[in-house]
Amino acid sequence: MSDKLLNIKNLSIEYTTEDGVVKAVNGINLDLKEGETLGLVGETGAGKTTTALGMMRLIPNPPGKIVGGNIEFEGRDILALSEEDMRGIRGNKISMIFQDPMTSLNPVLTVGDQISEVISIHQDLNMAAVIEKSKEMLELVGIPGGRYNDYPHQFSGGMKQRVVIAIALACNPKLLIADEPTTALDVTIQAQVLDLMNNLKEKFKTAMLMITHDLGVVAQVCDKVAIMYGGEIIEYGKIEDIFENTRHPYTLGLFGSIPNLDSDATRLSPIKGTMPDPTNLPSGCPFHPRCDRAKNICSQRVPRHTNIDGHKIKCLMFEEDIKQEWI
């Protein structure tokens, strides 16, 4: 228990809107050990970003609210902390990399000031030492320290994302939440940034939660993977479990949507349909309307997690008492 850096239990987050209650996250369980990387994968709207914001307690309220469950970080319940204590954790113990580096840097402050800011908030250093440390961070992400006084618009997208990484790692956090850090970058820069993150992660022994919809990125950096669908984790396991021993029909669908050079298929086989409306999730298994292996029971019974040697699947196909239906 104590070796777990982060332990999320039954976390549920809802947004109350005029059109009804949006159940963005429905009772998810996650845990992370020190230095481990977990990939959180899912389509747009699956609740990935909401989960991440929930861990930072940054869900905009109203309309958002954490309605259940708990988040334990270093043995402390994050949801019970005061706002003051929480600010001490953000950027210091848990930090976050946002999706779009173009908009996550303040255009009117120099990049140096923005790195210095996080250091001066959390560390009791004099200004000269803060600037010194900021320049070190810049160099660490491969940007010359002499560019300390440059503004964000003078950097390219990839360099901006490196600045964002420098800000996130400046206080040597225990946990780094990366919310689609490479989505806004082109593929060559993507590889550079991922390499950089991987190296720095190992250097600082930081655990990482990598949010992405790109399975290629997951394969490159993650130790464990959680597949999210409709606010639930429907498959969870070590990277080998997910990639080589895919079980859940949705995950199979995700892999089927990736072009493969070895096969002669002229068309991809995407998952049919779209994500369900989160204000009105389907009964039973949330995936059943799109699942090509769905049976009648899928719309009636909510699947539980089936645990096969640490590989957890939330699908009725694997539940002991009814799995013969599919044989």
Partner: protein
């Protein structure tokens, strides 16, 4: 760290740094403003007025020239001895004009400064927190807006008594609501940007986010409105002094000078015309600068 990125990349980055000239936003703004001839003319006129006002005591000592009455030289037309003539008490018009510029600029700038601080703070709080606080602050501002600003200023001055300080206070209070509205509108558009969320994610508190991340991003419209506001404040000062609610005689003030000379309009029109022209030129210069700043800060014109 060369193990993180290849040295080739580092070299490329540093060469980009030297080619891409370091240019702060202020320098960029100045570069664009310089292309605008009208704005530069405005800045030049303002510069001359400011220099004259600063060195007024050296050019024409206050007690000896601007205040001292000299009745045998009254209502003289411009000549070598008095380049702009003399007023109804034989005082040198030029001396009074440049001392009057001091008052006008002082009131204009300080009154606008005070209303930007007050209005900005109220607008930022209302915009950032929203909800009930926003409603309360902005409805109070609406009440202020409903009263014509010159009437409000007259009411405040007559309640507190006419002097320089009260005049400044009255003029700034009556323009607080417009700054509150401008700042609130910009804050609302900026607070939902991702970099504000990023600032929250590094543990910054609300005060820091407002002061360091939001306010600097709202400055552009405030600077424009402020420059135009100085012109308005100078006009209000002159107006209030004209009706005797502002600067009291014998202190020189443009509006008071206008008012004092109006009885002699037929025999000595220069006594009223000259302060009038001074007001017109100053306001024109400020408006030119304000318009120039607005164009220079317009992101659509950025090249």
């Amino acid at each position: 760290m060369s193990e993180v990125l290849s040295s080739e990349n580092l070299e490329k980055d540093s060469s980009v740094a030297t080619v891409n000239k370091k240019r702060s936003q202020t320098a960029e703004l100045w570069r664009r403003l310089r292309k605008n001839n009208m704005a530069m003319a405005g800045i030049a006129i303002l510069g001359i007025i400011i220099v004259l006002a600063i060195f007024a005591d050296i050019i024409a000592p206050y007690d000896a020239v601007a205040i001292k009455q000299n009745l045998k030289d009254r209502l003289m037309t411009p000549s070598g001895a008095h380049i702009l003539g003399t007023d109804e008490f034989g005082r040198d018009m030029f001396a009074r004009l440049i001392h009057g510029a001091r008052v006008s600029l002082q009131v204009g700038i300080l009154a606008v400064g005070l209303s930007i601080v007050l209005g900005g703070a109220l607008g930022a709080i209302a915009g950032y927190y929203g909800g009930k606080l926003d409603d309360i602050i902005m409805r109070i501002m609406d009440v202020f807006l409903a009263v014509p600003s010159i009437l409000l200023a007259i009411a405040i001055v007559s309640a507190l008594g006419p002097n320089l300080l009260n005049l400044m206070f009255a003029i700034s209070i009556s323009s607080v609501p417009s700054y509150a509205r401008i700042v609130r509108a910009s804050v609302i558009s900026i607070k939902d940007q991702e970099f504000i969320e990023a600032a929250k994610a590094i543990g910054a508190n609300d005060f820091r986010i407002i002061m360091l991340h939001i306010i600097p991003n709202t400055l552009a419209p405030v600077i424009v409105q402020g420059t135009l506001g100085v012109a308005g404040a100078i006009l209000s000062t002159a107006g209030l002094s004209f009706i005797g609610m502002g600067i009291q005689p014998p202190a020189p003030e443009w509006g008071a000078m206008l008012s004092g000379g109006r009885q002699y309009l037929r025999y000595a029109p220069h006594v009223t015309t000259i302060p009038g022209i001074a007001i017109v030129i100053t306001i024109l210069a400020l408006n030119l600068v304000g318009d120039g700043l607005r164009d220079a800060l317009d992101p659509r014109l950025k090249s």
